[in-house]
C-alpha cells in the first residue's frame, strides 16, 4: 500500500499554540482519488488523529483541573490575609479552628503577626511579610487565571478540531456508502 500524507497533517504549519489544525475535507472524491486511499485506511488515519486529539485533551484537562483547584486556594489565602492585615496591630490573639486533617478542626490561638509562611513548592516554605505575601499571591492568582483561560481556549480549539475530524469521518463514511451503493446498482444493471 502506498503511504501517503495523513489527512490532517497536510497543513501542519497551521497550529494554535502547538496544536495542529485538522483540515476540513472539502472534496472527498478528489481526495480519495488522489491519495489512493481506501475508505478503511482513510478512516483509520482519521481515527488515529482523533485519538491524538483526545490524548492532548486529556493532558489539558489535567492541567485545567489543577489550576481550578489552585485558584480558589489562592483566593482563600488572600481572604485570610486581609483578616490578618486587619488584626496585625491589635493586641488580641486571633482564635481559630483550623482544618487539622480531613473532617477535623482543632483550635489554635494566633497572636497578631505581620508574617506568614508560604509553600513555594519543592518542599520549601518561605516566610513573608503580610504585604509581600499578598503581592505574591495576587501575582500568582493573575498568572493562574490567565493560564486557566489559555488552557480553556486550547481545549475549545481541540474540540473544534475533533468536530472537524468527526465530520471528515462521517463524510468519508458516507462517500463509501454511496460508492458501494453505486457499484451494487451498476452490477445489477449489467
Amino acid at each position: 500500500m502506498a503511504s501517503s500524507e495523513s489527512l490532517v497533517t497536510e497543513n501542519a504549519s497551521k497550529t494554535y499554540s502547538g496544536i495542529p489544525k485538522a483540515e476540513f475535507l472539502e472534496d472527498v472524491d478528489s481526495y480519495m482519488a488522489s491519495a489512493e486511499e481506501t475508505a478503511e485506511s482513510a478512516l483509520k488515519k482519521l481515527d488515529e488523529q482523533h485519538n491524538k486529539y483526545k490524548f492532548m485533551e486529556y493532558n489539558l484537562n489535567t492541567k485545567k483541573n489543577r489550576l481550578k483547584s489552585q485558584i480558589p486556594d489562592i483566593k482563600k489565602s488572600l481572604d485570610i490575609i486581609s483578616h490578618l492585615q486587619a488584626k496585625k496591630s491589635s493586641s488580641e490573639a486571633m482564635e481559630t479552628r483550623f482544618l487539622l486533617s480531613d473532617q477535623v478542626f482543632a483550635r489554635a490561638r494566633v497572636p497578631p503577626t505581620d508574617k506568614v509562611c508560604l509553600w513555594l513548592g519543592a518542599n520549601v516554605m518561605l516566610e513573608y511579610n503580610i504585604d509581600d505575601a499578598e503581592a505574591l499571591l495576587r501575582k500568582n492568582q493573575e498568572a493562574a487565571t490567565k493560564s486557566l483561560k489559555q488552557v480553556e481556549e486550547e481545549l475549545s480549539y481541540i474540540t473544534e478540531q475533533t468536530t472537524t475530524l468527526e465530520v471528515n469521518m462521517a463524510r468519508v463514511y458516507n462517500w463509501d456508502v454511496k460508492k458501494r451503493r453505486h457499484n451494487e446498482q451498476s452490477s445489477k444493471s449489467s
Binding site: 513548592g121 520549601v124 518561605l126 516566610e127
Partner: protein, 140 residues
C-alpha cells in the same frame, strides 16, 4: 497447536512487558522533570531574597526551620542529583528502545495497523497498550 499458541502468547506478553517498562521510564522521567522545574522556580525565588530570611524545608514529614542560605545549596544539590537521574533514565530508555526493537525482530512481531506507515510516534504509545489483540504475531 496448544503449545505453539502458548508460546505466541508468551511472546506477546513479553513484548507488552517491555513496552510497559518503557512507559514506566518515560513516566518517571517526566515526573522528575516536573520536579526539577519546580526546584528551578524555587531556587530563582530564593536567590532574590535576603539570605537570612526564615525558610523551612520539609524532610520526610519533618519540617526543619532554617534560613534561606541553608536551604538554597541543598536545593541546588537536589536539582543536580535529579538531573543525573534523568540522564541515567534517558540512557536506559534508549537501551529499552533497542531491546524492544531487537525483541520485535527476533520474534517477527508487527503492530497491527502499522504496515503502511512509519513506526509509532513517540509519546503516543497509548493505543497499542489497550488489552490484547492489538498485537499480531506473524509466523506464516
Amino acid at each position: 497447536m496448544a503449545s505453539k499458541k502458548q508460546s505466541q502468547e508468551q511472546v506477546i506478553a513479553g513484548f507488552q512487558e517491555l513496552r510497559q517498562q518503557q512507559r514506566q521510564i518515560v513516566g518517571k522521567v517526566s515526573d522528575i522533570e516536573m520536579d526539577m522545574k519546580e526546584h528551578e522556580l524555587v531556587i530563582e525565588t530564593l536567590k532574590e531574597v535576603d539570605e537570612n530570611r526564615r525558610c523551612f524545608r520539609l524532610v520526610g514529614g519533618v519540617l526543619v526551620e532554617r534560613t534561606v542560605k541553608d536551604v538554597l545549596p541543598a536545593l541546588v544539590n537536589n536539582k543536580e542529583q535529579m538531573g543525573k537521574v534523568v540522564e541515567n533514565l534517558n540512557k536506559s530508555l534508549e537501551q529499552k528502545g533497542l531491546e524492544i526493537n531487537k525483541y520485535r525482530e527476533t520474534h517477527n512481531l508487527k503492530i497491527k495497523g502499522e504496515e503502511s506507515k512509519e513506526p509509532e510516534k513517540q509519546g503516543h504509545g497509548q493505543d497499542t497498550s489497550k488489552a490484547g489483540g492489538v498485537l499480531v504475531a506473524k509466523n506464516s
